[in-house]
Structures are given as structure tokens and as C-alpha cells.
């Protein structure tokens, strides 16, 4: 009987080995381990056995059963895994195909520059203010220390809409307008971005419309060294911590002293290259201490308050930052141009 059991075990294992599907295995299980299977059949004949032989045969039968079970499980697992592998293989895709594009428009580079500069100054305690684009002569010129016959008016030929109203030639009138709302009480810390207009023919470096950002800081005891400090902080944040600034004397009717602010060239590190016209410096800002006349006309007592103002061209900042060579690109809106600023 033991031999018979052994024989059955061998047969079963062989069939398990041959089985190529979960289904085939199931029939092997039913065949050998089922109630009508040969092992049960053998065990039924146990009655005829001696007391001594009975436990041995019983033990053997159990061993054979266990072995079959074990092998069945092993094989099932094997087959299932193979089936899954097969399925996954069939599901395989070309992962080099492009992904579904997520639609994303681009920020206009001038907006990107304006927002970045606003954020830097907001971080320095400034607020953002705006003013009208059609200005009165009074705010655009007179309150900025440019009386009617001032020779500096020559510098900026303008678009008039009436005899005393024009498209503002600078964002500086916002200075005067904002200061007035403070009614002579400082501190005033503002930046004013906006569009300005001058009678220029449009070419690679001129535009009849462009953008400026004006800044203003009025308080007691403001010194020229503070102007230098604030602008250095700004320039290093915008252009990089390794940059330095240089002040050069200049002239604006609404500031005195007036300076041009240069930043060290980022391309050559100050050694001189084509971008900085071999000077090592790039002019980026106009600035100065607010002229006492301007403070006075806007309701601040120049004996008590001093302040500084600065102005910059947004297009120039954008051109330097992104290496753009023609100012007209900003207003042509070629989609191939705009698309380049999605990360801006």
C-alpha cells in the first residue's frame, strides 16, 4: 500500500509539473486529493491492515497529500505570476511617446519684470501705486520742477491732447500725486510702474510707448547714502548678489543731486565686453535726492523732510535680463516670442 501511495505521489507530481494552467492544476487537485481520488481510495482499504501497519500507511498517505498540496500551491503561484507577467507585457507602452501637453500661456516679459521689481520693493517696505496716463502739464512737468520754459522739456517731446494735457512722458507725476495724498506727513515709500509716451520714431532702441517704474522714499533724515544702500539692495536682488553699483553725476530737474546708476556687467564681470560697450558697467537707473522745490510743491516741508527718487526703464531691464535686442518685440507680440517667457 505504501508503494501504491508512493506511486500515486509520483504520478501526481508529474502531472503537476506538466500542468500549464491554473485550470489544469485544479483538475490535478480534484483527481488526487478529491473525495473520490485514488489516495482516498487507498485509505479506504486501510481496514484490512494490521494495527502496526495502519499508522505507517496513514502517515505515508498524509505525507503524499501534503507534498501534492505543496507542489500544487507552488505551481499555482508560478502560473499566476506568469499570467500576470504575460498581461503586463501585453500592456507595455512606448514611454518615449510625448505626454499630454498641459496648456500654459506665457506672462508678457514686461509684466514679469514689473512684478519681480514690485515684489523686491514690497519686501523693502514699499507700496505700489499707479496714476493716469493722460496727465496735466502741471503734474507731468511743473510739479516736477520743470516750468514752461525749462530747457529740460526739450529732452522729451511729448504727445499733447490739449494745450495743458498730454500723454505722460514719465511715471514721475505719480510721485507728486501720491505725495499730495500724504498731506505733508511722511514716510512715503512707493513704487509706480506704468506706461509712458514720447514722440520717438519706433526702431530697435526707441519706442513711442514704453514702461517705467518710478520709486520714491520720503522721510526725515533720508540721506544720499540711503539711496545708494536701497538701490544696491535692489540691484543685487534683481541682477545677482555678486553685482555692484556705481553712481555717476547726472541731471534731472526733479532731483538734486542727480545720478545715473550703473550696475557691473554680468557678462564679463566688469572686465569689459560688447554688452557693456567695454566699460564694465551698464546704465540701469536714474536717481537722486528729491529736489526741495518738488517736495515743497507736493506739500512737504523740505526743511524737515528729504527723500530720494529713482526711475528705471522696464524694457531695458527685460532686454538685459533676457538678452532681447529689439524693443519692438515687446509690442509686436509674435507668439513665437511670447512663448519663450512661460518660465519668466
Amino acid at each position: 500500500m505504501i508503494d501504491r501511495l508512493q506511486e500515486l505521489g509520483r504520478e501526481a507530481l508529474e502531472e503537476i509539473k506538466q500542468a500549464d494552467s491554473v485550470k489544469a492544476l485544479e483538475s490535478v487537485r480534484v483527481k488526487y486529493l478529491g473525495k473520490k481520488g485514488p489516495i482516498t481510495e487507498v485509505l479506504r482499504g486501510m481496514g484490512q491492515l494490521s494495527e502496526e501497519e495502519r499508522p505507517k500507511v496513514g502517515q505515508k498517505a498524509n505525507d503524499v497529500r501534503e507534498e501534492i498540496k505543496e507542489k500544487l500551491e507552488e505551481k499555482t503561484e508560478q502560473l499566476e505570476k506568469a499570467a500576470i507577467d504575460e498581461k503586463l507585457k501585453a500592456e507595455s507602452i512606448d514611454i518615449t511617446l510625448p505626454g499630454r501637453e498641459v496648456k500654459q500661456g506665457a506672462r508678457h516679459p514686461l509684466t514679469a519684470v514689473v512684478e519681480e521689481i514690485e515684489d523686491i520693493f514690497v519686501g523693502l517696505g514699499f507700496q505700489v501705486t499707479k496714476g493716469p496716463e493722460v496727465e496735466t502739464d502741471q503734474y507731468n512737468f511743473e510739479k516736477l520742477n520743470l516750468p514752461a520754459e525749462h530747457p529740460a522739456r526739450d529732452m522729451q517731446d511729448s504727445f499733447y491732447v490739449t494745450t495743458d494735457m498730454l500723454l505722460r512722458t514719465q511715471t514721475s507725476p505719480v510721485q507728486a500725486r501720491t505725495m499730495e495724498t500724504f498731506e505733508g506727513q511722511g514716510p512715503v515709500k512707493i513704487v509706480c510702474p506704468g506706461k509712458v509716451y514720447r514722440r520717438d520714431d519706433d526702431d530697435a532702441t526707441h519706442s513711442h510707448q514704453f514702461m517705467q517704474i518710478e520709486g520714491l522714499y520720503v522721510d526725515k533724515n533720508v540721506q544720499m547714502s540711503d539711496l545708494k544702500g536701497v538701490l544696491e539692495a535692489f540691484v543685487q536682488k534683481y541682477f545677482g548678489a555678486d553685482r555692484s553699483i556705481r553712481l555717476r553725476p547726472s541731471f534731472f530737474p526733479f532731483t538734486e543731486p542727480s545720478v545715473e546708476v550703473d550696475v557691473s556687467c554680468g557678462i564679463c564681470g566688469g572686465k569689459g565686453c560688447r554688452v557693456c560697450k567695454y566699460s564694465g558697467w551698464i546704465e540701469v537707473l536714474g536717481a537722486g535726492m528729491i529736489h526741495p522745490n518738488v517736495l515743497e510743491m507736493s506739500g512737504f516741508d523740505p526743511e524737515i523732510y528729504t527723500g530720494f527718487a529713482f526711475g528705471m526703464g522696464v524694457e531695458r531691464f527685460a532686454m538685459l535680463k533676457y538678452g532681447i535686442d529689439d524693443i519692438r518685440h515687446f509690442y509686436t507680440n509674435d507668439i513665437r516670442f511670447l512663448n519663450q517667457f512661460k518660465r519668466a
Binding site: E101, T111, E133, Y197, M289
Partner: protein
């Protein structure tokens, strides 16, 4: 202002500085040198030659064959100029010479005649045609007889020089003169200024014997002076003077005219020489012109004047437009023998008006307009007299005839080292300050703990303390100003709510796939009547537009946005999705502005072409009404006003009547959206373009629905889907509204998931399928409760829109 570096050396010792160094010092000091012009870099082997013989070329009518002595050789040179003569000293390029533009001179053969070099014109040496004296404009240049044969001819004609082109700011008219630049240079380097020689003899005769002066307008003309110079011989001015004028961009004419121009450049003082015999009287009267009074200026033009103009008259007629240009009738000519030399100070504003109105910008008017040194007028006149004596054989009559209304005293500014340091954030001593003022030649003294500075007439830009602070800082060096941060009150910096919402709006539109565009504000009259948000009362026109295209302020952002779409289409970029945020400008009825126009912030967008393309996955979707409406709905949601917005069929004539909507915010018109009318599309050469334009002032001023947390549902929701058959003309929005109202508080959400027309439906009918979600946040709904609510919905649908359930 063009400054010859060689000439500048006459007034300040800068031998140790190169032209480049000098330019750098000036620029760093605040007088910007825009450009350096090296007048003849690399030109060599061009020498003074003496034409010993000159005979016609045997083979060519227009050529001459010359024998030219250049000291090193006697050369045979073929010359084509008609003014070549034996006995002339000429500019000779020897073989091996290189002329400007890289032209190499070699020995060549011209019509069978060997030519060993070239006799040059000034133009061939790089002098601009307009700066060449008239008699040499069409031929070779003839040097003065005393030129040394064999010497460097380039130096002889003053071209071994570098010209500094100054870009002067309006506050520094003093640098419109060689002496002014010398003062600046001297201050920067702490050196002396060397003044020109003004000495001359005076004859026994008095100027006042020949002329009287009367000034009727002392405010316009605070000083008027004349000198008289007789026995003049008009001829060419000396070569060195011509060279300097040429360097400064002025063409040499004759000794008398050149001398007045020379002194103008030297002192910044415009002078005018009248021909005494042609003046027509012996008196000078300065007055305003009469309305419509006429005069002929030196350029031959007849000018009609007004009472805004100031004229110099001979007592009867104008002989000069004061400060701008002399008159033709009294012009110095070849036969002139006596001149009346005018040296005056005219008010800037008066000259500026005349210059603007007549369109004449002369070297003289430029200087008067910006302000000359009122204290240097007489010295300049003496200098001119001295030069006329030396170079025109003139006899200077004794004295001058002058009318003087200038202020007697110079302006004084009181300050202190403490105050100046306070402004600058520096720490200079009083001695440092005084030393700076001494270098600037501003008389200054320490007094009672302060500093008193006298401002010479040379520097009219110095008016108050801050001006001195600037002088101190720029001479001491801005690099020595420390870097500090303001010590005052700290204030919070922030963006206003509106500014933040504008940014959110931009971010939303970018994320939706729209590119931001920026177009010009000035537009054409044609554009300004198109696609407007409202019917506007008026436009804002520019008084003197540069072109019709930029003649008025925009009243809508769309025309230029459509131009942009068209621009891109013309470059094969057919898919466009653009937005712009900007102002439109609203004028007044009748077109005349009485106050600043209203500026309204408007948001516009244009979308056309393929919207979504996932090509290899076989998906492609064109922009349509629902694309643009979806963007708007998302935007309104972002701005917190979605629940207050209604889309109502629009009657905008420029939009597709069936595919457009007006947008209302809580009942107020806020903009429009839709497909452009085909006729409008055709104008811009577009195919199916969708647009919107919104009044952002209105929308952004509307209180946004604030974000407030609502409990996340803990109980299950019940979803019921229904397909309704309604008449075609029943809007889905209406059906949805009925469902929403009928569903009551249990109806949590509705979504439309199918719209169908066609087979299995009767004509004129459509099917709308909605998914209704019922939910009670506080408990699990029973089937019965849901059915009750749902049945009510169905009943109301039947009653209000005759909807039937689709079977």
C-alpha cells in the same frame, strides 16, 4: 558740443592725459562724453608738397601732370582737380600712404602717365563735405604759403586730433564753450585755467562816435554792447583757426565770420558782426517786433515776426532776429571794411520762442536758450576785437557802446559742512568742502560756523544748497558715499487687494493657456470706433499725431489684439490665444476735453484656431464659444464673483448674433463675449475667432464672495440621472434653473452630461441629460425622501418647460 582735445590744451594743462583719460574724467565728473572721434587714425605719409610744375595731361583734358616737391623726393603726380596750379602748397599722399577708409596709395599709371602719389582734397582725408570751405569743396585743398614742405600735412590741417562729443545735460550750458570745459577739467584735476589773450590796441576814435544803442526791452535784453572795428580786410582766416572750427563742426567762411564763431566756441558767447556801412543808420534799437513785421535773415528766407520776437533794428528796420540769426541786409561781405561787433545777453525764454517759431536752431540760439555767462560778454567782445586786429587787419575803436541792466551782485548761497554732509550721508570736513569750492572757482569762505559761497555768472545752475551738495559729491567722488539703509520708521510693504486680484487674474489666464500681449495705446481713428465695451461719449485725440495709425487713444483693446492675431497668422501661426489687460480712454462729447479723460481698466482676449491638440492620441479641438465661456467662468470663479454673473444673449452688431453673450454682474453690464461677426472676421482675415472684453474696474471693485469652510459631507450622496426631452428653443440654462429651484435644499449638485438632437427624437426637440446629486449633510437620506424631491423636480420641469422624461 564737440571739443577738440588739442584745442582744449590751450586752456588747461592736460599734456599728461590722453584724450581717452580726459574723456573718462569728464564723464565720471558728470559731463558725459558720448563719443570719441579720432579724426585720422593711422593716416601716414601724407605730407605738404609744393607744386613746382603743372601742365595738362597730353592724353586727357581734365587731368594735369604735376611735379611736386615733397622734400624727400620730387614726384610726378597726375591730378584731376580743376583748381590745381603751379606754386601751390598741397596735401600730398606719397606712395605707401593709407587714407581713411583704408585706401592705399601706390604708384600707378594714368592714361600712360606714371603718377607717384596723389594730391588730396580735405574730403579724401575724412573731412565732411559740409565742413569744407566753399572754394575747396570741389577740388584739392590748398595750404597756406607758409606751410613747410615735407611736413606732416595731416597735422597741418589739424587732423592729428581727437574730438570729444559731449552729451550735455540741460543744467550745464557752461560746457557749451571751450573755456567752460576747461574750468570743469581744471576743477576735476585741481589745475589752473589759462585765459585767452584779449589785448589789442585802440585807435583815438571812439565807437560812440559811430553808433548809439537804445534797448526798449531791458528784461528781454539785460545787456547789449557794441564795438566798432574799421579798416578790415576780409579774407581767409588762419589755418589753425579753420582747423579748430572744422573740429567743432563749423565750416570756415572768412576771417571776420570765423572769428565771431571762434569766440562763440571759445567763450560760449554768441557774437554778431554787422557791416557798419550796410547798417543803414548809426543807431541800434533793440525792441519787440511788430505783429506781422517782416525781415530777411542771412539764409535768404523772409520771416514774418510777431510781438513775441525780439529784434535788433537800425532804428527803423530789423537787422537781426535777436540771438537767433542776423539779417541779410547788413551781412558781412568780401568788400566789408568796417564792422559793428555785437556782444549781448538775451533772455533764454525769448530766444527759445523765436527759435521754435522760426525753426532756426543756430549755434547762437542754442547757447542763448540754455543760458550764457552774463558776466563774460565784454571779455568775449574784447577777445574778438583782438583777433580782428591780428587776423583781419582791423583797427579797434576806443571803448564800447553798452546798455547794461544786469544785476550788480552775484548770488550767494549759505550752507555748512554739517548740512551738506547730512544730505549726502558723508563726513567731509569744512576744509574738504572749501577746497572743492576753490577747485570749482566758486569764491567761498567759512563764516560763523557755516560756509558762504558766491556763485559766478558762469554757473547759473547753482541756485541753492542741494546744488552745492551735488558739486561737493561729484568732485569728491560718488564712490566715497557710504552705503546705508534708511534709519526712519519701518512700514509694511504690501500689494493692495485689487493689485493681488489683478495678479490672480493674470495667473489664471496664463494657466488657462492664454499668452499675455501688450499693444500700443495710440491707435487709428478707424480702430477707435470698433468693438467697444460701451457706446462712448467721445474719444481722446492726440493734437499733433506722428501718423494716422497713432492718432487717438484706444477705446477698446480688441482691434489691436485682432491686429496681433492677424500679424501672427501672416507668419503661419494660426492658433492664437491672447489676452491683454490695459486702459481704454473715454473722452467727452464734442471731442474737446475739459478735464482729464476717464481711464478704464479693461481685460480683453481673442482665441482662434486649434485649442486642444493631442495629435498622436487622435484628439483635436477647435476653439469655440464654450472654450471662451469656460475661461470666463473659471476667471469669475477665481475672482469670487461666479455666482453673481449672468450670460445673456447679446445684440452687439460686431458679434455673431447666435454665438455671443453680454455679461452681467449682479445685474450691471460688465462686458461681452462671443464669436466675431463673419464680416468682422473677414476684415481681419480671420476664421472663427472668439473674443471677450470686460470692464475690470467694475468686476474688481465688486466684493468677492469670501472663502468659508463648509463641512466635508460625512453621509453618502444619492445620484439620479435624468434625460429630458424639451423643445429646441428651451435654453439649457433655464432647465437647470428650474431643477435648482425645484430641488430645494436636498439637491446638492447638478451637472449636464449630454445634449442630443436627431434620431429617435421628434423634430424640433432635443434631449438634455442631467445628473442630480442629493445630499443631506446631517444624515443619510432615505430612498423615499430622495424620490419625493426628485418627483417634485420632474413635475416642475413638466410644468415650466414642458419637459418629458426620455424613455
Amino acid at each position: 558740443m564737440l571739443v577738440s582735445y588739442q584745442w582744449l590744451k590751450n586752456y588747461v594743462d592736460i599734456e599728461d592725459l590722453s584724450a581717452e583719460d580726459a574723456a573718462e574724467r569728464l564723464t565720471r565728473g558728470g559731463v558725459e562724453v558720448d563719443m570719441l572721434h579720432n579724426r585720422t587714425e593711422g593716416v601716414e605719409h601724407v605730407v605738404v608738397g609744393y607744386v613746382e610744375e603743372c601742365s595738362p595731361h597730353p592724353e586727357a583734358d581734365k587731368l594735369s601732370v604735376c611735379v611736386v616737391d615733397t622734400k624727400s623726393a620730387k614726384r610726378t603726380i597726375v591730378c584731376g582737380a580743376s583748381n590745381i596750379r603751379a606754386g601751390q602748397k598741397v596735401v600730398t599722399a606719397e606712395p605707401g600712404a593709407v587714407l581713411p577708409g583704408g585706401i592705399e596709395i601706390t604708384t600707378t599709371t594714368l592714361r600712360g602717365q606714371e603718377s607717384q602719389g596723389m594730391i588730396c582734397s580735405l574730403q579724401e582725408l575724412g573731412v565732411e563735405q559740409k565742413l569744407v570751405a566753399k572754394e575747396y569743396q570741389d577740388g584739392i585743398y590748398v595750404l597756406p604759403d607758409d606751410a613747410e614742405v615735407g611736413a606732416d600735412a595731416v597735422a597741418e590741417i589739424g587732423l592729428r586730433d581727437t574730438v570729444l562729443e559731449l552729451d550735455l545735460t540741460p543744467n550745464r550750458p557752461d560746457c557749451l564753450s571751450m573755456l567752460g570745459v576747461a574750468y570743469e577739467m581744471a576743477a576735476l584735476l585741481d589745475r589752473d585755467v589759462i585765459h585767452p589773450d584779449t589785448a589789442h590796441k585802440e585807435s583815438a576814435e571812439h565807437a560812440s562816435d559811430h553808433v548809439s544803442v537804445q534797448v526798449d526791452v531791458p528784461k528781454d535784453n539785460p545787456f547789449y554792447g557794441v564795438k566798432v572795428v574799421k579798416n578790415i580786410v576780409v579774407g581767409p582766416s588762419p589755418q589753425w583757426m579753420q582747423n579748430r572750427l572744422t573740429a567743432a563742426g563749423i565750416r570756415p567762411i572768412s576771417n571776420v565770420v570765423d572769428i565771431t564763431n571762434y569766440v562763440l566756441l571759445e567763450y560760449g558767447q554768441p557774437l554778431h558782426a554787422f557791416d557798419l556801412d550796410r547798417l543803414g543808420s548809426s543807431e541800434i534799437l533793440v525792441r519787440r517786433a511788430g505783429e506781422g513785421e517782416e525781415m530777411t535773415t542771412l539764409d535768404g528766407e523772409t520771416r514774418t515776426l510777431s510781438s513775441e520776437h525780439m529784434v535788433i533794428t537800425n532804428g527803423k528796420e530789423p537787422v537781426a532776429l535777436a540771438g537767433v540769426m542776423g539779417g541779410a541786409s547788413s551781412e558781412v561781405q568780401d568788400d566789408t571794411t568796417a564792422v559793428l561787433l555785437e556782444a549781448a545777453y538775451f533772455q533764454p525764454a525769448r530766444v527759445r520762442k523765436a527759435s521754435r517759431q522760426t525753426g532756426i536752431r543756430s549755434e547762437s540760439s542754442i547757447r542763448f536758450e540754455k543760458g550764457i555767462d552774463s558776466g563774460r560778454v565784454e571779455e568775449a567782445a574784447e577777445r574778438a576785437a583782438s583777433l580782428l586786429e591780428t587776423y583781419a587787419g582791423g583797427e579797434v575803436l576806443q571803448g564800447s557802446v553798452e546798455v547794461d541792466h544786469r544785476p550788480a551782485e552775484n548770488k550767494k548761497i549759505e550752507t555748512s559742512a554739517g548740512q551738506l554732509n547730512g544730505l549726502l550721508g558723508m563726513n567731509l570736513s569744512e576744509d574738504d568742502m572749501l577746497s572743492i569750492f576753490r577747485r570749482l572757482r566758486l569764491p567761498a569762505s567759512a563764516e560763523k560756523g557755516g560756509i558762504k559761497v558766491e556763485v559766478p555768472t558762469r554757473r547759473p545752475d547753482l541756485e541753492r544748497e542741494v546744488d552745492l551738495a551735488e558739486e561737493a559729491a561729484r568732485l569728491y567722488g560718488y564712490e566715497y558715499i557710504p552705503t546705508t539703509l534708511p534709519s526712519g520708521v519701518t512700514t509694511p510693504g504690501f500689494l493692495t487687494d485689487r493689485q493681488r486680484r489683478e495678479r490672480h487674474m493674470r495667473r489664471f489666464l496664463e494657466s488657462a493657456g492664454l499668452n499675455e500681449a501688450l499693444t500700443y495705446t495710440l491707435t487709428s481713428r478707424e480702430h477707435s470706433s470698433r468693438l467697444q465695451l460701451h457706446t462712448l461719449p467721445g474719444k481722446v485725440d492726440v493734437s499733433l499725431p506722428m501718423s494716422e495709425e497713432r492718432s487717438t487713444m484706444r477705446t477698446s483693446l480688441l482691434p489691436q489684439l485682432l491686429d496681433t492675431v492677424q500679424y501672427n497668422r501672416n507668419r503661419q501661426i494660426n492658433d492664437a490665444a491672447l489676452f491683454e489687460l490695459g486702459s481704454i480712454f473715454i473722452g467727452e462729447p464734442g471731442g474737446t476735453l475739459t478735464k482729464q479723460p476717464q481711464e478704464k481698466t479693461v481685460l480683453a482676449a481673442a482665441v482662434t484656431g486649434w485649442w486642444d491638440t493631442h495629435l498622436w492620441q487622435g484628439e483635436k479641438k477647435k476653439a469655440d464659444f464654450f472654450v471662451i465661456k469656460g475661461i470666463l467662468e473659471g476667471l469669475f470663479n477665481e475672482l469670487g464673483v461666479a455666482s453673481e454673473v449672468a450670460f445673456v444673449r447679446s445684440s452687439q452688431a460686431e458679434l455673431h448674433p447666435g454665438r455671443s453673450a453680454d455679461i452681467y454682474l449682479n445685474g450691471t453690464y460688465a462686458g461681452f463675449t462671443g464669436q466675431l461677426h463673419p464680416s468682422v472676421e473677414k476684415e481681419w482675415d480671420l476664421k472663427e475667432a472668439y473674443v471677450f472684453q470686460l470692464d475690470m474696474d467694475l468686476i474688481l471693485s465688486y466684493d468677492a464672495v469670501s472663502v468659508f469652510y463648509e463641512t466635508v459631507p460625512r453621509y453618502p450622496a444619492v445620484t439620479r440621472d435624468i434625460a429630458l426631452v424639451v423643445d429646441n428653443d428651451v435654453p439649457a440654462g433655464k432647465v437647470e434653473r428650474v431643477i435648482r429651484e425645484a430641488g430645494g435644499s436636498l439637491l446638492h449638485d447638478i451637472s449636464l452630461f449630454d445634449v442630443y438632437q436627431g434620431e429617435n427624437l421628434s423634430a424640433g426637440k432635443k434631449s438634455l441629460a442631467f445628473s442630480l446629486v442629493y445630499l443631506d449633510p446631517d444624515r443619510t437620506l432615505t430612498d423615499e425622501e430622495v424620490s419625493r424631491a426628485h418627483d417634485n423636480v420632474l413635475k416642475r420641469l413638466e410644468e415650466e418647460v414642458s419637459a418629458e422624461l426620455r424613455k
